[in-house]
């Protein structure tokens, strides 16, 4: 049984704490390995063989294959790591953020230029459930 945490009621947010860090270790080490060009070449040449080097769970590996960015975070990925995989795919940080919110990149960028996502209505999960 996982202990309840004071930040569990923040909506749309995966806090990268000790539990997630432990769970996501190999997933994150895979992502960060892509910072180096030879690793990127090896991953591009044979993705499955490259993934074999990292003992991730089947769910994590599946999320990587599907580029399911939120699922990676849920399974212990950290955004500073998963963004290296996004960069490998040629996805900018802002485009990645848009993907995770389910908005188009254009709509997301417009939201940011207009002041960002407001805090009102976005503090508690209960506020999202009632939408």
């Amino acid at each position: 049984m996982t202990q309840e945490k004071a930040y569990d009621d923040i909506p749309g947010t995966f806090v990268f704490d000790a539990d997630r860090s432990r769970q996501g270790y190999h997933l994150n080490m895979f992502c960060i390995s892509l910072r180096r060009a030879p690793a990127r070449d090896a991953f591009r040449a044979d993705p499955e063989a490259y993934l074999d080097k990292f003992p991730m769970s089947a769910e994590q590996r599946d999320a990587v294959r599907k580029r399911d960015w939120n699922r990676m975070l849920e399974l212990g990925g950290n955004i500073y790591y998963t963004s290296k995989l996004a960069a490998f795919d040629g996805i900018t940080f802002q485009a990645l953020a848009a993907l995770m919110t389910g908005m188009s990149e254009q709509a997301y960028r417009k939201m940011m230029v207009e002041g960002g996502r407001p805090i009102e209505g976005n503090r508690y999960t209960s506020e999202w459930e009632s939408k």
Binding site: T13, F14, F16, M29, I79, Y80, F93, M111
Partner: protein
Amino acid sequence: MARITAGVGSSHVPAIGVAMDTGKTGEPYWQPVFAGYEASRAWMKEQDPDVIFLVYNDHCTAFSAEVIPTFALGCAAEFEPADEGWGPRPVPVVKGHPKLASHIAQSVILDEFDLTIMNQMEVDHGLTVPLSLMYGEVDAWPAQVIPLCVNVVQYPPPTGNRCYNLGKAVRKAFESYEDDLKVVVFGTGGMSHQLQAQRAGLINPEFDTRFLDLLTEDPVAGSQISHVEYLRESGSEGIEMVMWYVMRGALNDNVREVHRHYHIPASNTAVGHIILENV
């Protein structure tokens, strides 16, 4: 002794570095971000510190999930700008101050802050972007830099209170140094932003304004802002603002705010900047 004259708070958004490195600072999107640093660059020239004590966080560059020090002090003679996956930034190598840095390490460790000592470390945008913002494009950084790298990637980062008290210990260390030097302390990161999951793009200007007000006027109260409040109110990555409290702790209790700049957005982030002088 080494004398701290002022503190600088600044965001370190990577896209700001990219905008500078690719000549986009005059574009309508970026112009307002950089306009707020024009006065700061003149101020920086006038201050002309010998040493910058620069508090920042590494973004899985020098450290990966393998090693996560809460506080790591750069004691090397130089620090290479890192390749973060798209080539190193075209900025000068950062020159350290090993003698002063190791003096600080010794002093604060005996003051019960258990630092990690880094004799070899690459530095990423967290450190080079604030230098670029404050100095512009230069052939060599005009000051020596002592980096203090703080973990804000894996929760929990150190508390604001811990950072504030570390700043005080750092000031004491500077004051007991044998050579006369002029020091400016940088606290970097923030302001409100969330880079991940469905709530990405969160910005909270009310929180940011209150944060800046407290930083100047009531740092004891500001240093007590809880982690959950940062996460909820300023976004999951906004919590990195605790690093500004190392800077604030290194200053006098009373400071004069000489400059403030705030702009939304730079990429996914609210840009905040403040200059505080010791009085």
